[in-house]
C-alpha cells in the first residue's frame, strides 16, 4: 500500500468531506475540553454497562448512519435523474451504492434494532438488566468501532465498490485490490461479532432474566420478536463470520476459496453469503413486527388478537427463513429441483407473515384507534408492507424472477419491505418508547410533517422503480444513455424517483428538527405511562431508574400493567409498605471500549495489509480478554437508602408489585 494513496484524493466532494469531518472532530474535541466533559463522557457513557444507556448510544448511531446512508441515496438519485449524467463517475457511484446498502442494513437497521432491544426488553420482562451487561457493552463498542472503521474508508484508503454483498471474483484481489474491499470485510466482521454476542445475550436474557412470575406465554410480543430474531442471529451470524474469514484468507494469504484460478469457486460465496444475507433481512424485520404488535394493541385499547398464533408465526418465520436463501440466485442455474424447493419455501414465509397482518387488523377491529405518532407509522406500514410482500412473492416464483432479478423491480421490492417494514417499524418504536427513554414526548406537529413527507416521498420514489424494472433497467448502473433514457422510457421515471428521494430527505430533516425542538419544548412525561400502556415498562418512571424495578414485579398474565391499572381503579389495590433490599448491579468498566479499540486497530492494520499492526491489535484484544478474566470486583450493591430515596421521589406511579389479593 503506497502512502500517497492513503488519503483519498481527486474529488472535490471528498475534500469537502475531509474538511467537514476534521471540523466536526475539532468542534467536538473543543466542546468536550472546554466544558470539561471528557470525564463525564468516560464515566457516564463509554464505560457504562447500563442497558438503557447502551440503547441510547445505539439509537444515536443508527440515526447518524441513516443520515449517512441517506446522503448516499440522494447522491445516487441525483446521478440517475437524467441520462448521461456525469455528476458522479462510475467508480464513485459504485462506491456509493456499496456503502449505502452496507450502511443501511448493517450500520443503520441493526443498531436501530439493538437500540430497541436494549431499551425495551429488560423493562418489558421486569428485569434489572440483561444477562451479560459486560458483554452488552462489548457488543456495542464492537459495532460502533466496526461502523467507524467502515466509514473512514470514505476519506482514508477509498471505499469498497463491489456491492453490499461483494460477490467474488469481483471482490478478490485481482479485480478489487487495495484497502477498499478490506474495509468492507473488517468493518462488517468486527461489528458482526458484536451482533452475534448481542444475539446470545438476549436469548439468555429472555429465557433466564424474566421476573420470576412471568411465564413465557405471558411475555409481551415485542420480547417474543426479540427472541425469534436473536435465535436467527445465532443461526446465521457464524456463517457470516466464516464467509468473511474465507474472503480474508483469499485476499490476505493468497487462498483460493472464491478466486477464478486454482480451483476457487465464486459460487460458493454466493451460496454462503445468502445463507446469512437472507435470514438477515428477517432478523431486522421481526423486531419491527414486535413493535407493531405493541403499538397496535396500545392504541387500539385492546388486547392483541391471536397471541399464540402471533408467537408461533414469528418462530416459524425465523426458522423457515433459514430455508429460502437460494431465491437470491435462482438465475445461477443450480437446477430445476433446487429452484422449485426454495421457491416454495420462500412463498411459505408469506403465510405466517400474513397471519400477523390479519391479527393486527383484528386487534384494531372493535377497538378504539387513537391516531398518535407511533400509530401513524404503523398504519403507513400496513399497505406498504402488503404490497412489498406481495412483490416478494412474485419474485419467489423462480421463472418469473429470471425476469426481475437484478432489475429495478427488485430494488423497489426490497426498499418497500425495508423502509415500509423495517424503517417505519423502528421509527414507530422510537416514537413509542421515546418518552420512556428520555422522559419527554416528541413534538406532534413536526412529526406529522416528517411523516407525510416520508410517505409521499416513498411512493413517488419507489413506485416508478417497479415500472423501470419492467422496462429492463438493471441495478447498479451509474448511468444510462439517451437511447435508454428516452426511447426506452427510463428517464422520466428516474427523474420522478429522484424527486421522491428528496421528499424523504426533507422528511428526515423534519424529524431531526423535531427531536432537537422537543428536547426543549417536548411534553414532559410525569406519569411514566404517557400512552396508557399495557406492559411492564409503563409501570415505572420515565426515564427508568438505574435498577429499573425497585422490587421485581409480580405478573399474573399478559398485559400485566393494564390489568393492574384496572384493579387499581376498582380500588382492589392496597398500598403496603414495601421493604426494599439492596440491589445487585454490575460495575462500569472500560475494558469493552479498550478491547474494541484494539479490534479497530487490528482491523485497520489488516485493511492496509500492515500485518504488524493487525497482529498487534489482536494481541491487544487477547490481553484485554485476559485482564477481564482476572477482574473479580465486577459488581456492587445499591444500598436500600438510595433506593428509598429514588422511589420516594416518584409520586403517583402505580406499581405492579403493590397488588394484593
Amino acid at each position: 500500500m503506497q502512502n500517497s494513496h492513503f488519503f483519498v484524493t481527486g474529488d472535490p466532494m471528498i475534500y469537502g468531506a475531509d474538511v467537514s469531518i476534521a471540523l466536526v472532530s475539532v468542534a467536538i474535541i473543543f466542546y468536550l475540553t472546554y466544558f470539561k466533559k471528557w470525564g463525564w463522557l468516560w464515566r457516564e457513557w463509554i464505560t457504562t454497562v447500563d442497558h438503557k444507556k447502551i440503547g441510547i448510544m445505539y439509537l444515536i448511531s443508527a440515526l447518524l448512519m441513516l443520515f449517512r446512508g441517506g446522503v448516499d441515496a440522494i447522491l445516487m438519485r441525483i446521478q440517475l435523474a437524467v441520462p448521461n449524467s456525469h455528476f458522479l463517475a462510475s467508480e464513485h457511484y459504485n462506491e456509493i451504492f456499496t456503502t449505502h446498502g452496507t450502511i443501511m442494513i448493517l450500520f443503520m437497521a441493526m443498531p436501530f434494532m439493538f437500540a430497541l432491544f436494549n431499551i425495551v426488553v429488560p423493562l418489558q420482562i421486569g428485569a434489572r438488566d440483561v444477562a451479560y451487561p459486560f458483554l452488552n457493552s462489548v457488543s456495542f463498542w464492537l459495532f460502533f468501532l466496526g461502523a467507524m472503521l467502515f466509514n473512514i474508508s470514505f476519506v482514508v484508503g477509498g471505499s469498497p465498490n463491489a456491492g453490499w454483498l461483494s460477490y467474488p471474483p469481483l471482490s478478490e484481489n485481482d479485480f478489487s485490490p487495495g484497502p477498499g474491499q478490506n474495509f468492507w470485510i473488517w468493518g462488517i466482521q468486527i461489528s458482526g461479532i458484536g451482533s452475534l454476542m448481542t444475539g446470545i445475550n438476549f436469548v439468555v436474557t429472555i429465557l433466564k432474566m424474566r421476573t420470576p412470575t412471568m411465564r413465557l406465554r405471558d411475555m409481551p410480543l415485542f420480547s417474543w420478536s426479540v427472541l425469534s430474531s436473536s435465535i436467527a442471529i445465532l443461526g446465521v451470524f457464524p456463517i457470516l463470520t466464516v464467509t468473511l474469514v474465507m474472503l480474508t484468507i483469499d485476499r490476505l494469504l493468497g487462498g483460493h476459496f472464491f478466486t477464478m484460478t486454482a480451483g476457487g469457486n465464486p459460487m460458493m460465496w454466493v451460496n454462503l453469503i445468502w445463507m446469512w444475507g437472507h435470514p438477515e433481512v428477517y432478523i431486522v424485520v421481526l423486531p419491527a413486527f414486535g413493535v407493531y404488535s405493541e403499538v397496535v394493541a396500545t392504541f387500539s385499547r385492546k388486547r392483541i388478537f391471536g397471541y399464540s398464533s402471533m408467537v408461533f408465526s414469528m418462530i416459524a418465520i425465523s426458522v423457515v427463513s433459514y430455508y429460502t436463501w437460494v431465491h437470491h440466485f435462482f438465475t445461477m442455474g443450480a437446477g430445476a429441483n433446487v429452484n422449485i424447493v426454495f421457491a416454495i419455501c420462500t412463498m411459505i414465509i408469506a403465510i405466517p407473515t400474513g397471519v400477523k397482518v390479519f391479527n393486527w387488523l383484528f386487534t384494531m377491529y372493535r377497538g378504539r384507534i387513537r391516531i398518535t405518532q407511533p400509530m401513524l407509522w404503523v398504519m403507513a406500514f400496513v399497505p406498504c408492507f402488503l404490497v412489498g410482500g406481495a412483490t416478494g412473492v412474485m419474485l419467489a416464483a423462480a421463472p418469473a424472477d429470471y425476469q426481475y432479478h437484478n432489475s429495478y423491480f427488485l430494488i423497489a421490492h426490497f426498499h418497500q419491505v425495508l423502509i415500509g417494514g423495517v424503517v417505519f417499524g423502528y421509527i414507530a418504536g422510537m416514537y413509542y418508547w421515546f418518552p420512556k427513554i428520555f422522559g419527554f414526548k416528541l413534538n406532534e406537529r413536526l412529526g406529522k410533517w416528517g411523516f407525510w413527507l416520508w410517505q409521499i416521498g416513498f411512493y413517488v420514489c419507489f413506485m416508478p422503480q417497479y415500472a423501470l424494472g419492467f422496462m429492463g433497467m438493471t441495478r447498479r448502473i451509474y448511468t444510462y444513455n439517451d437511447s435508454m433514457g428516452w426511447d426506452m422510457g427510463w428517464a422520466p421515471l428516474n427523474y420522478i424517483s429522484t424527486i421522491g428521494a428528496f421528499l424523504m430527505g426533507i422528511g428526515f430533516i423534519f424529524q431531526v428538527w423535531q427531536i432537537l425542538y422537543s428536547i426543549k419544548h417536548g411534553e414532559r412525561d410525569v406519569t411514566g405511562d404517557i400512552w396508557d400502556g399495557r406492559t411492564l415498562e409503563w409501570s415505572i418512571p420515565s426515564p427508568a431508574p438505574a435498577y429499573n424495578f425497585a422490587i421485581l414485579p409480580v405478573v399474573k398474565g399478559r398485559d400485566a400493567w393494564w390489568y393492574q391499572k384496572e384493579e387499581m381503579q376498582k380500588g382492589n389495590v392496597h398500598k403496603e409498605a414495601v421493604k426494599y433490599e439492596p440491589i445487585h448491579m454490575p460495575n462500569n468498566t472500560g475494558i469493552p471500549f479498550i478491547m474494541s479499540v484494539f479490534w479497530f486497530i487490528a482491523g485497520f492494520g489488516f485493511t492496509f495489509e500492515w500485518m504488524w499492526m493487525g497482529i498487534a491489535g489482536l494481541i491487544g484484544v487477547a490481553l484485554t480478554l485476559f485482564a477481564r478474566s482476572f477482574q473479580y470486583n465486577t459488581d456492587h450493591y445499591i444500598p436500600v437508602e438510595e433506593i428509598e430515596k429514588t422511589e420516594k421521589a416518584r409520586k403517583n406511579y402505580g406499581s405492579v408489585h403493590r397488588t394484593a389479593n
Binding site: 456463517i239 445463507m275 442455474g333
Partner: protein
C-alpha cells in the same frame, strides 16, 4: 446448572472413553484394510462419527444434567438442524448437476 445433580462419575467417563476409542478404531481398520465398498465405507465412517458425537454428549458433556426447561438441549437440537442445513444445502446446491432453462 452445575450445582444440581451430576451424572459425572468415574464410571461414566471410563465407559465413554472406551466407547470412543472403539468407535475410532473401527473406521480406521475399515479404511486401512479397504474392507468395504466406497459407499458402505462412507456410511460407516459417518455413522461411527455420529455415534461418537453422541457418546461425547452423554458421557462427557452431561447433556442430561440440570433441571427446568432444557434450553441447552433445545439449543443443541436447533444447532444440529442448522449444521445439517448448511452442509447438506451447500453440497446439494453447489453440485450443479443439471442444466437449467
Amino acid at each position: 446448572m452445575s450445582n444440581h445433580e451430576h451424572t459425572a462419575n468415574m464410571k461414566a467417563y471410563t465407559t465413554g472413553f472406551a466407547l470412543s476409542i472403539i468407535l475410532t478404531i473401527i473406521p480406521i481398520i475399515l479404511v486401512l484394510n479397504h474392507l468395504l465398498s466406497k459407499t458402505a465405507l462412507v456410511v460407516s465412517i459417518l455413522l461411527a462419527a455420529v455415534l461418537q458425537f453422541v457418546v461425547q454428549l452423554f458421557f462427557f458433556m452431561h447433556i442430561r444434567d440440570g433441571e427446568g426447561p432444557r434450553y441447552n438441549v433445545m439449543a443443541l437440537i436447533l444447532g444440529i438442524i442448522f449444521v445439517v442445513t448448511i452442509v447438506a444445502g451447500a453440497i446439494w446446491i453447489m453440485s450443479f448437476n443439471s442444466q437449467v432453462q
